[in-house]
Amino acid sequence: MKPAPFEYHAPTTLDEALDILASTGADAAPLAGGQSLTPLMNLRLARPAHIVDINRIGGLDHLGQDNGRLRVGALVRHADMERSSVVREHLPVVATVVPLIGYPAIRHRGTVVGSLAHADPAAEWPSLALALDAEITLVRTGSQRQVAAEGFFTTTLTTIKEPDELLTEVSFRTDFDACGFYEFARRHGDFAIIAAVVALELEGDSIADARIALAGAADRPLRVNEAEDAIRGEPLTAETAVRAGEVAREAVEPLEDIHGSSDYRRDLVEVAVDRAMKRAVNGS
C-alpha cells in the first residue's frame, strides 16, 4: 500500500505556503501531522497531486490562554495538549480527552487543527470544537477569516475550507463552569462509536446555558439543541443528566456502519450524553 506520486513542497513561511496553495488549488493537501492523511494516501483513497508540508513554518505552534480563549496553533500536537499546564488549568476537560486519542506515537505527530481540517465525524476534536464554541482561523494569500465551529463542518471529511486556504489556528472558550466528556470505543485509542461533550454555564446550581455535542452520530459533529433546550434552567443533578440523555436519544437519527447500527448508536447517544453530563456534575 504505497501512495500515488505527488509533488512535494516544504515552505518555510506561511506566505510561501499560501502562494503554493493559491496556484495548486484543489490538487493540493496540506500536511501537518499526517496521521489521518498519510494512511488514506497509502490506501490510495486520497491522491493529492501536491503535498504542502507545513511543518517547517514558524509561528504556528503557539498554545496559550488569551482573553477567555485557549488559542491553539496549527502545529500544536495532541501530545503538546496532553503535556500543557495551560490546558490543564483552563480547559481541564481537554486534559481528560487527549489520552484517548490513538496512542503516544499518533499523539506526537497528529495536530488539533489537523483533526479539525480532516473532519472525521467520529474524531474527538470536531465535537470538542462544537461544544467549546471554537473559532477556526483560515487564511489565504492576502486575507483571513474566522469561522465558528458551527458552520465549519459540512459532511464526512468535508469542511468549508477552500482549496487555497490553510487553517492556522483554533481557539476554544475556556470560561465554562462545568464540562464533561464521555466516549465509547471498541478498544482503547480507537475512534469513538459515539462520544458526547457537554459544556455548561451555571447560574447558582442551575444550568444557564448548555452546549452538547456528539461525535459518531452523524456525518459531522452534531449539536443536540433539543437536549440543550431541555436542560436549560434545570438543576445540575444526576436526574438532569438522565433527562438530557433521553432527549438526545430521541433527537438524533444516527448513521450506521459495521461498528454500529442506527438503533445501537441511538442507545449509545443516550448513555454518552447521560455520562458526560454526570461527569460535568461531578466536576471531573
Binding site: I258, S261, L268
Partner: protein, 792 residues
Amino acid sequence: MTTEAQAPRFFGARVKRVEDPRFLIGGGRFVDDVDMTGMLHACFVRSVEARARITSVDVAEAEKMPGVVKVFTGHDFSGSEVRCVSAYEGFQVSGYPALAEVEAKFNGEAVAMVVAEDPYQAEDAAGRVFVDYEPLPPVIDAEKALLDDSPLVHDGWKGNAFVERRYESPGFDDAKQSAKHSVSGRFVMARHSGIPLETRAAIGDYDKGTRMLTLWTTTQIPYLIRTGLADAIGFPENRIRVISPDVGGGFGVKAQLYPEEMACSLASIDLGRPVKWVEDRREHLLTAHHAREHTHEATLYFDDEGIVEALEAKIVVNMGPYSVFPWTATMDTGMAMGILPGPYKIKHYSVRGYPVATNKAPYGAYRGVSRPAACFTIERLMDQVARHRGLDPAEVRRRNYVTGDDYPYRSAGGLEYDSGSLVESQDLLLEQVDYSGLRRWQQEEREKGRLIGIGLGAYTEQTAHATKEFVQRGVPIVFGYETSTLRLDPNGKLVINSSIHNHGQGLETTLGQMAADALGIDIADVRVEYGDTSQAAYGSGTFASRSAVLAGGAARRASEQLRDQLARVAGHNLEASPEDIEFESGRVFVAGTPDRGYDFDQLCRMVYHRPELVPEGQPPILEATVAYDAPPGTGTFTNATQIAVVEVDPGTGGIEILRYAIVEDCGPMINPMVVEGQIFGGIAQGIGSAIYEELVYDDDGHLLTTTFMDYMLPGTTEVPHIEVFHLETPSPFTVGGIKGMGEGGAIAPGAVIAGAVEDALAPMGPVVVDQIPLTPERVRGYVDSARREASR
C-alpha cells in the same frame, strides 16, 4: 545407559531462548529483509467482485508504465493450480489457480500480476490494468448455499457442499428417545483469522543457468510447499529449494500453498530474475486464508442428574471456493465432528458435517482448527444443562468429565483420549481462584447493581496426532512424522536439523533442550537449523501442536543414537562396555571412574580424525536421522480449564475482563516459560475471537473489514493479566511423556466469555449467548432482551 539417573539439566528448565538475540537487536531476517541482485517486485491485481466471469484483462497501458517489466494474466499461468483432493467418498474437486483466468471466485482473488523494478511502480501500474468483470450471483451464506435453489459455486458440481459427512453411533436413537431432558441451540462463530503481524511474502528466484528454482516464502511447512509447488506448476522437485527464514507469526495462516507463491515462482522462471511480493495488510485481510466460520445446531440429551447421554449436531462451515493445500476443504468440518463431544463421557453421538463452497475467501487452518467452535457449542450447551438442572456449571462438568479411570478413552467422536486430568484441573483452578469466594463476591457486587459474570470452559486438545489419525481424515498427505537430523562436529558442537519450522514457538531452544541432556552437553553448544529444504530431511512442518512432540521426539531419539555411537567408541577405547559409559557435564567416562574417560569434544574429534580408533564396522562420523511418529498415531491429549470474571456495562454493551485464569496440563514441559507464552498468546487470540474479531462481508460478497480500523485486534488494554497454573499428566506413549499445547489457549475463550456474559446478565433475565464475537452492540441486544423477558 544410566543418564536417566541424573536429573535432566535442560529438560524442564526455564531456559532463555537462544533465538532471541537476533530479534532484540533488529537482526532477524524476514523474507522482506532479503535483497537480491536484479530483484523485481510484484503487485497483484485483484477481483473487485465476489464472483464474476473475467471477460478481458487489458494490460497494454500498465506494461508501458515506468519500471514495469511485464504484466502476467491467468492465461500466462494457465494450468498451474492447486488441487487438494480428500479421500472421502463424494468429495467434489476444485482447482485453485495461480491467477484466475475464467472466473474470479472471491473478492480479492488474483487476476493479474504486475512485475516492476520497485514496489511503488508496480502498484501504480496495477491501478492501470483494466479488467472486465461480468458479475455472477455470488454465494455468500453457507446455509443458503446448501439449499436446492442456490447458485453453484462450481459448474458441474452437485450442490455446494465439498462433501457430506455423517456419523451415528450404534444405539443413538434409543438413547435419544429415552432421554429425560434436552437442551438445544444454534451456535454461530463469525469468520475471522490468525492475522499474524508479518503479512505474507515470497521471492521466486529462478536461475536459468542451474535451472534451480529457489522460493523464499513465509511458510510454516517448507517441505510440503516444495512438493505442492512441484505438483502445481509441474516443476521437478529436486530442482526446487524452499527457504523459510524468520517468519513473523503463522498460526496456521502460513501453512498453505498460496497462488502468490506459485505466481512468483512462475514469473521468475519466465523472466529469469528474482520476483518478490510483499503482501499489504488490505490484501492480507482479503485473501490470506480465513477461518472459524462455523454454524452448529446441536442438542444435548441428559438425565435428572445432568449426566449427558447423547449429543446430536449439524455442523456447517463456510469454506470459500477452493480446497486448499495441504488440508483439503474437509479439515475443519471433520475435526469439529470428532471433537464436538469435548472432554465429556457422552456415549451416543449423531452428527452431520457440511464443508460448504462459497464465494468468500478460501478457508484454512487457524490455531485450534474448528476446536474453538466445537468448544463454544458444547460448553454453551453444558451451561444450559446446568441451568436446567439448577446446578453450578462447574458441578455439571465435573459429573460428565472423562476421568482418570476411564483412560485410554475412546470418545464418541472416534478419538482416543490417551490421558488427562480434567477433574483435577478444574478442581485446582477453582481452588486457585477461590471459586466459592468469587461467587460470594459476585453476589455482593450484584447487590450494588454491577453486572458481574463468571464463565467456565474446559477442553481436551488433540495434539501431535500423526499417521493413524490423518489416514482417518482422508487427507492426501498423511502428516505422520517429523524428522530430525543431528550431527556432531569434530569440536563436539551439535547441529540439529529439523523438518519443522519455528516462528515464535521457541523450537530453536526446546529442540536443543530435548537433545542436550542425553549427551551431557550444554545447550549453548547446540545449534538448531530449520526452514531450508536443501538441509534437513523431509517432514511436514509446524502446525497442530505437534512440533515439540514429533520433532522433539525425533531429536531426542537421534541424540540417543549419537550417544550410542559415542559410547561404542569410548567403550572400545576404554575397554569398557558401552552400557557402562556415562555422559555428564561435557565428560564421557566409565561409570564410577570419572578419570577414565574423555572430554566430550575430545571424543568427537577422535571419531572424525582418528578413524582407526573407531570400532570396525562403525562409520567414523557422528550423525543420526530419526523420523518420529508418536504412537499410537491418534494423538496425545492435553487438557485445560479456563475461567473468566467479567463485568458488563448494560448501557454500552462493553465487556471488561476483570480476571482470567487457566489450569493447563500438557504433561511434562520442556520449557515452562515457552509453554506459558503459548498459553497467553492463545488466550489473547481467543479473546479476540470472543469480543473483537470478525471478517465482515456485505450481501454481495465484498469484504468490508479491509484495514485494522475495521478488523479489531486486541492490544495490551484489551487482554488482561492471565494467571496460569500447571498440572503434568504425562502421555503414556510419547518420548518424555510430552504433549503438544500450542493451540490450546485459543480454544476456550469464546465459550468462557460467552458464559461469563450470560452469567452477568442472568439477574436481569434469561439470556442465551450463542454467537460471537460479543460486539458491544450484540451484548447491548442481550441486555435489552433480558430486560424484555424479565418484564413479561
